[in-house]
Amino acid sequence: MTNHPSLKQLQDFFENEKSNFDNDQLKKHLSGCDKCSVILSEMAKVDILFSKTKETVEVTELVKNETLSKANTLLSQIRSAKNEKVERKEKRIEKVTNVITDINEIRRNALNELKLPVLQAAAAMLVLGVVTEYSRTSIETEEYKILNDEVTVVYSELQGDMNEDN
């Protein structure tokens, strides 16, 4: 190596960061170049002096206790919010379960009694309408999917019945 490495390259080498400068070549250069060695040595000495101040300050007991106390209040709020969310979800699942039960009830009792295809179709639309309205209000995607699947089954069965009747 005839040319000196740039200061940026020396710094990258010093800090072990990726450099486009070949490290072996640079090491070889440093072994024969006092000027570059001095620059690196000064960087190291400045860093050593700076590192003596690594742990200068400590958090006071007062601030520590206050921080932990305020943190615990916040964490307690997080836990309450999580519990409320779980409770809300459980209630929604209960509602969905009830709707599914109702749909099954309709399927078992009412729809099977309906002989006219027009009435079957109207009943199916009614069920769909109830579910759509219900999904619009508050239920989550996953719960809606369960409902939707259930309705699809009912609807398919109805269509099957209608085809048989026709």
Binding site: K52, V63, K64, N72, S76
Partner: protein
Amino acid sequence: MMTVMNELVKRLKEGEEEAFALIYSHLETPLINHLFKMLGSIEKAQEIFQETMLTLIKKINHYNYRGDLNNSFKAWVFRIGTNLAIDEIRKKKEVLFEHIPDVEVTEVNTVEVNDTKNRINELIMLLPVVQRTFLNLKVNEELSHNEIAAICSCNINTVKQGLFRARKTLKDILINEGISI
């Protein structure tokens, strides 16, 4: 370490006090010293430290480890602290990371202190805030240029340039103070 920290973060998201206490003890010393290096005042550093730890809890659901170092939890928390400290410094209308000023070292007026550590600390405070912040994150926290850039919301070249100038300025200050390097 990353796995342990991720596990603690997961527990913190559930509101576990023990998880927070462990994260707190892990970050306490480096964070308070980072903030002190930036702000140059113990009182302000304590104030911003507390704000950082509470903001950490409030924003914990925004943190998602993606597997890269730029997104390490420590770097994320340091970024919160750095931003809060910058807000504090901006109240004094000090220009920060936008550009890095060169500092002309003249005669240094420092309080006479016997302890070398305190003396060096006094001298470090003569560095522009951006330079001492970069140097602290690099030398004391051993973070990469990428991580420092992420914490300080600037690009890697700004970090490299800042580190170079910080070392040069500090060297001049130390020589001017008669401290041999």
